[in-house]
């Protein structure tokens, strides 16, 4: 038994230990008990009021599926259109092209269904705008869609004979304010503290080693970059996302 295997076992055990209290917390949230993050609930109520949704209205399974499929269809059209016109939208400093229709079809579905299969190439296929308001957006809502469907099944598994399986939009939104957003904020904060770069500037071409290959360091702070902060200098670190020569 070497360190690597011990590391694997440790990481599994830590995940398990984290999952138990998190599971308790999620169960509490869906049973309607008060949770720590309820201070975000007013935002949710505000959205419900604008959309004219009554979160207390109970749905049966057919109404749930209708709500789920129709809202997903809207996102599909939204994502498809955004990929088609992304070249003309702002936050595209590199002049990345819009996607072809078949690639838009594939990418829109892929992110909508929480599959995230990427047939486009990362830095040239999408723009900063579509990355932020389409891909990241779909990451959240597709996961929440899956969990909302699961909570409907949980509701149906209770002892009562019932047709009332909760409100789809209520469950869907609860996901966000009670655990998704917190989780993501924590991880983004940790990424920020590790100085993961996130810039909206254009890519800078640079020569990579000696030789004929030309590579792009995108959103990079290189050692000789004038953007380098004193903090970077002390650490002597170079962050880069390397794309193979095209």
């Amino acid at each position: 038994m070497n360190t690597e295997v011990l590391g694997v076992i440790a990481s599994f055990v830590i995940t398990l230990l984290l999952a138990i209290p998190l599971g308790q917390y999620i169960a509490k949230v869906y049973s309607g008990e008060k949770s720590l993050l309820d201070f975000m609930a007013p935002a949710e109520r505000f959205i419900f009021r604008i959309c004219g949704i009554d979160p207390a209205k109970q749905m049966n399974w057919k109404q749930h599926m209708l709500a789920l499929l129709s809202i997903n269809l809207i996102w599909l059209v939204y994502a498809f259109v955004m990929f088609q016109i992304q070249a003309k939208l702002p936050l595209n400093p590199d002049g990345n092209l819009s996607m072809t229709s078949d690639l838009s079809f594939n990418t829109a579905i892929s992110f909508l269904v929480n599959c995230n299969l990427q047939d486009y190439s990362g830095e040239t296929g999408v723009t900063y705008l579509t990355q932020l308001i389409v891909l990241t957006f779909l990451h959240f809502v597709s996961a929440a869609t899956g969990i909302a469907a699961l909570v409907v099944v949980f509701n149906a598994m209770r002892d009562k004979v019932t047709d009332k399986l909760g409100n789809f939009f209520d469950i869907f939104c609860k996901n966000h304010h009670t655990h998704f957003s917190t989780n993501c904020l924590c991880h983004s904060a940790s990424a920020c503290f590790q100085r993961n770069p996130r810039k909206l500037q254009r890519k800078r071409p640079t020569h990579y080693h000696a030789g004929r290959h030309r590579a792009y360091f995108t959103r990079t702070r290189s050692r000789h970059d004038r953007d380098q902060t004193p903090w970077d200098k002390r650490r002597g670190l170079v962050w880069c996302q390397l794309r193979p020569p095209t």
Partner: protein, 304 residues
């Protein structure tokens, strides 16, 4: 979510039984992967290159072989789709295990969707074990009848159908029309000839249908054929397995609740957990063994 289920329905024993089956399933894939990866590649060994640190092709030195193997399996049993080593370079047995992870698609599984798939297998397991011991199949106090079984069977068969039918379609196109005048000719689709090329196509559809999203790589997938077929597989592979379990649950919830008695088949015992595990594995093996035999298994035997 499994632990949430235990607390939400106050059935902690059942939650642990489900978690146990899922972990056992995960280990079934993880252990062979680890063992083959540690032993390295015999073909490279044959060239007198030291394989003491395992099969390092396509892996990062900072992760090493075992942590990469762990991630390979977790990322395929859970539908995260992120990779930290190139699955295309995994050993054939690991490739088979990675694909099986997506083909079963319920050992942990995706966000919400994992348990929905597992729920289908529970219904089938309840039905089969009910028949075996001669009791009316009941799950959590509700009788399971023909209508629910029909839905469960369709959903359980949909996943293999999508993967195998589309892999067959792409293989057929590749063999019969290798030089058709498309932007990317089918003959240029694959990076590797033979068995491994077949694995690349099989993996792509398994990944799409399981909504996993990881790629085996080595496949020229940004062209009309792959974009459209993979898109169709993804969208069908997502929504039907959501609608199916919700429909079953919705129909069951309306039925009369029968309190547990001595005649009830208990669904939170070790026996039932074993039964579910067997149902999942047998279904996956029956559906996918021929395809796996053509891809990774054939490659494994050609290595030695």
């Amino acid at each position: 979510m499994i632990f949430a289920l235990g607390h939400y329905l106050n059935r902690k024993r059942m939650a642990w039984a489900i978690f146990g089956v899922m972990t056992a399933g995960m280990l079934t894939f993880l252990i062979p992967t680890m063992i083959t990866e540690i032993h390295g590649n015999p073909a490279i060994q044959h060239m007198h290159i030291n394989q003491a640190s395992g099969s390092m092709e396509g892996k990062e030195v900072r992760f090493g072989v075992q942590a990469s193997a762990y991630w390979n399996i977790l990322t395929t049993v859970i539908s995260t789709g992120s990779v930290n080593s190139m699955h295309d370079s995994s050993m054939p047995v690991s490739g088979a295990m990675e694909m099986l992870g997506m083909m079963t698609n319920c050992f942990y599984g995706g966000c919400g969707a994992g348990f929905l798939n597992y729920y289908i297998f529970i219904i089938i397991a309840v039905f089969i074990s009910g028949l075996m011991v001669g009791r009316t199949p009941e799950f959590l106090g509700r009788k399971i009848e023909a209508k629910e079984m029909k839905i469960a069977t369709i959903i359980a068969l949909l996943h293999p159908l999508l993967i195998l039918a589309f892999t067959a379609l792409s293989s057929w196109t590749l063999v019969n029309f290798p030089d058709i005048a498309w932007a990317v000719k089918p003959s240029n689709w694959l990076n590797n000839p033979g068995y491994h090329g077949f694995s690349e196509m099989l993996y792509q559809y398994a990944s799409c249908s399981a909504n996993n999203g990881s790629g085996f790589e080595g496949l020229a997938d940004n062209n009309m054929f792959w974009n459209v077929t993979a898109g169709l597989v993804m969208i069908i592979g997502r929504y039907l397995p959501i609608i199916g379990p919700v429909a079953i649950a919705g129909i069951l919830a309306r039925k009369k609740y029968i309190p547990e008695s001595a005649g009830t088949l208990k669904t939170d015992t070790g026996t039932f957990a074993l039964m579910t595990y067997a149902v999942i594995m047998i279904l996956a093996a029956l559906a996918f063994f021929p395809a796996l035999a053509l891809g990774p298994l054939a490659e494994y035997f050609s290595l030695h």
